[in-house]
Subunit: 239 residues, 2 copies
């Protein structure tokens, strides 16, 4: 793990790093010890490791005594796009512009990204555990769920996961392999993801402890208090 | 409002009262002022105004700066049972003993109790507002929902309500009349209430702000943290 930059603000130490050619960021309390729980943050599609949702969740987690880390997904943030990435992104933009359903393209493209991202997350976690060695959780919505479900299914170090806002289609079989506690958010009036699809994904997890939080509102209207709820979920299961 | 007894413990002032022939209990901080939010607590079937779930929720609410009040439902606690009550209770006990579905009896009997309880709650709220005059919420699960949904539908003073753990059958039309914020709990593996029935009741509320919390587990296994969640819900909407 190669630390490339460091800054601190309001009690948060923010360190940029690379693992191989994957850039990431680690947030800890300024006076952190090695022994603390760590939550991996998966960003959404088209976003990056320091998007406001990531820095906001990192802030909440650090305030609650966690470390948090995020890496740029393949083709996102500071990482180059492949020709495949460019083609899929163009198709998504065309679908959104013409009002066609974007779901099938997102589901297919994010499954492809997950195949690339899962081993990157595992190598990142190997490296992070030289710095932080407490219990590990995963928190990611949208594309962060498309990547986080297959990651959590194969990664025994992840002991609790917060997911949400994704279709069930490609993820149901993988979700059935997950037995750790899960908190899952969906939007009751999501204009992209059918309600039944979100409920089917929640239902698929084999976890004996799982909680569904469904709120009124459109896809992008997830209430802010759900981030606080996810932090409390990690406090219950990792501390 | 006739106060009949008073005790205090750990900063909570607990006052028994009667309104007409309905006995109730009011919990406030010991040093309460007149201007504070009030949450009405509806107890479950076969329980009473000082059952552990009621005193526990009152404790959480008082700690968060609320007053809380509960009355015995008709035929419950210190109140006499009618011949009708006795017949329905016998039928419920027989169904439970033989393993027949108890739902149809509970739905029918609780609808009957709600007709008696709604005007009692309204008279109680009239009287309570001489003592406590802040915004009002309602919190009740099981039979507390069977009574609370018709109460909230006709009572404009109730500004937020936490419900859950009940069948949709008799309540859907009434729930459609409710527009205040709602938090709703259901058990994903409820052995009495079909999942689709709970989801249909949640869906029926016309509230633009509503949250569903579904947790794994059987009917009586609602996680304790949902009581804390309901308190935070009332903090968001009444404070």
């Amino acid at each position: 793990m190669n630390f490339t930059a460091s800054t601190s603000y309001d009690g948060v130490l923010e360190r940029d790093f690379t693992v191989g050619d994957v850039p990431g960021v680690l947030w800890t309390p300024v006076n952190a010890t090695e022994h603390m729980p760590l939550v991996l943050l998966g960003h959404g599609g088209g976003r990056h490791k320091k998007a406001p949702a990531m820095t906001g969740r990192a802030r909440l987690l650090v305030d609650a005594g966690f470390a948090a880390a995020c890496i740029d997904a393949p083709g996102h943030g500071d990482r180059p796009r492949t020709a495949h990435d460019e083609r899929e992104i163009t198709l998504m933009q065309q679908a959104m512009a013409t009002g066609e359903p974007v779901g099938p393209i997102v589901v297919r493209y994010n499954a492809h990204l997950a195949e690339r991202a899962v081993p990157e997350w595992q190598a990142t976690l190997d490296a992070l555990q030289d710095v932080i060695d407490g219990p590990v959780g995963y928190f990611g919505l949208n594309m962060g769920t498309a990547i986080g479900v297959p990651l959590t299914a194969v990664e025994p170090r992840i002991a609790a996961a917060a997911f949400g806002l994704f279709w069930h289609d490609n993820l149901v079989e993988t979700a059935r392999k997950i037995t750790v506690p899960v908190e899952f958010a969906l939007q009751w009036d999501d204009e992209h993801i059918p309600r039944e699809s979100g409920l089917a994904l929640f239902d698929a997890f084999s976890s004996t402890q799982k909680s569904l939080h469904a709120n009124t509102g459109a896809h992008k209207e997830l209430p802010r208090f759900e981030a606080d709820s996810a932090v409390r979920f990690f406090v219950r299961h990792l501390m």
